[in-house]
């Protein structure tokens, strides 16, 4: 490789941004086609393309960062800013759902009976499963911090145990939410209450699944000795994301489950 007088990463040409963009287009148009014409061909195609892109792009990044040493301190700084901006955009994504919820619930329309929760809606008790969910996510926030300190102190066994525990707690949360969805006495078709509830908590659940996957990748990479005690940004990003998901849940719990019932 030619001598490089700066510490930045000059990325090689890659097909993944293009396939990712096509995947996103197919996914969104596929969803519309599915909703309107009940055909899943385009949707499946988009999903497959997106999953393949994700796998191969992230594989390439791991190769560049861990095995080729392209993630120098200034490059890591860029990755940090990128992750911060991404999480900020996610915050605004959820802000939209909270806006919809408060718009509908602070001044309920006459059609709902002028009250919140709307007439005829039996809500979930916030002090049963949702409280357990809160405890599970807060506990996973503690275990992920334990994992981070273990990595920084070079404690391999503890890092693997705590990371595995975090992922297990994530799966337990997903399982509890699925049970709650099945047991819920209202559905997504039950007016604006059902819409706001299931869209907000559903997207949160999706983010828990994404965060668990992210942490699971970190666990595999930890087992494969990818991380050093100083350089483990993949894990740090996953931990940031996990904390973000945790905080969104706290707001969901307080607003939709507790105040909204």
């Amino acid at each position: 490789m030619a001598h490089q007088a700066h510490a930045y990463h000059m990325v090689d040409p890659s097909p993944w941004p293009l396939t990712g963009a096509i995947g996103a287009l197919l996914l969104t148009s596929g969803l519309a086609v599915w909703f309107h014409f009940h055909s899943t061909i385009l949707l499946s195609l988009g999903l497959i393309l997106l999953l393949l892109t994700m796998y191969q792009w992230w594989r390439d990044i791991i190769r560049e960062g861990t095995f080729q040493g392209h993630h120098t301190p200034p490059v890591q700084k860029g990755l940090r800013f990128g992750m911060i901006l991404f999480i900020t955009s996610e915050v605004f994504f959820f802000l939209g759902f909270f806006w919809a919820f408060y718009h509908s619930s602070l001044a309920p329309t006459p059609e709902l009976g002028g009250c919140w929760p709307p007439t005829g809606i039996t809500t979930l008790d916030p002090f049963e499963v949702p409280l357990l969910n809160t405890a599970v996510l807060l506990a996973s926030g503690v275990t992920v911090t334990w994992a981070h300190h273990s990595i920084m102190e070079g404690e391999r066994q503890q890092a693997i145990q705590s990371l595995a525990l975090t992922i297990l707690l994530g799966f337990y949360f997903t399982f509890l939410q699925a049970m709650e969805y099945y047991e819920a006495p209202f559905t997504i078709a039950d007016g604006v209450y059902g819409s706001t509830f299931f869209v907000a908590t559903g997207f949160h659940g999706l983010h828990v699944i994404i965060g668990s996957t992210f942490l699971a990748v970190c666990l595999l990479r930890q087992i494969q000795y990818h991380f050093t005690s100083e350089h483990h940004f993949g894990f740090e990003a996953a931990a940031w994301y996990w904390h973000f998901v945790d905080v969104v849940w706290l707001f969901l719990y307080i607003s939709i489950y507790w105040w909204g019932s």
């Binding site: 009940h38 709307p118 807060l138």
Partner: protein, 118 residues
């Protein structure tokens, strides 16, 4: 009794250590503490996990279990409100009349609970 003896022994041991090695130990300790996040923070978080976080989850599980015991499982009376059970368009799955997490016991269809028809 044995524990008490062990405790008193543990308390007495440092007194026998010469002063010089004691000060050296302390210097090493303070040097270790100066390392950014501290040397034993993983241990702290491990303790927090097992003493605070997981027992917290266990308490909430118990709370959930106890509260679930008191539940009555009777269906609320079906009233065909216009703002509920909206079917402006078919769901893209199944027969298009049931939500994705449909529970025949808890979720009524637009014309009432399923069990009542049979």
């Amino acid at each position: 009794m044995a524990a008490l003896a062990r405790l008193s022994q543990a308390l007495r041991v440092p007194l026998r250590v010469p002063l010089r090695s004691l000060t050296r130990d302390r210097r090493q300790l303070s040097a270790a503490a100066g390392h950014g996040h501290g040397e034993h923070s993983a241990k702290t978080w491990k303790i927090l996990t097992f003493v605070v976080a997981l027992p917290g989850v266990a308490v909430c599980m118990l709370n959930m279990y106890l509260k679930e015991q008191q539940h009555s499982h009777e269906q609320p009376e079906f009233i065909p409100y216009t703002h509920l059970r909206i079917r402006s368009k078919r769901f893209p799955w199944g027969d298009g009349n049931k939500s994705l997490f449909h529970n025949p016991h808890a979720n009524a269809l637009p014309d009432g609970y399923e069990g009542h028809d049979e």
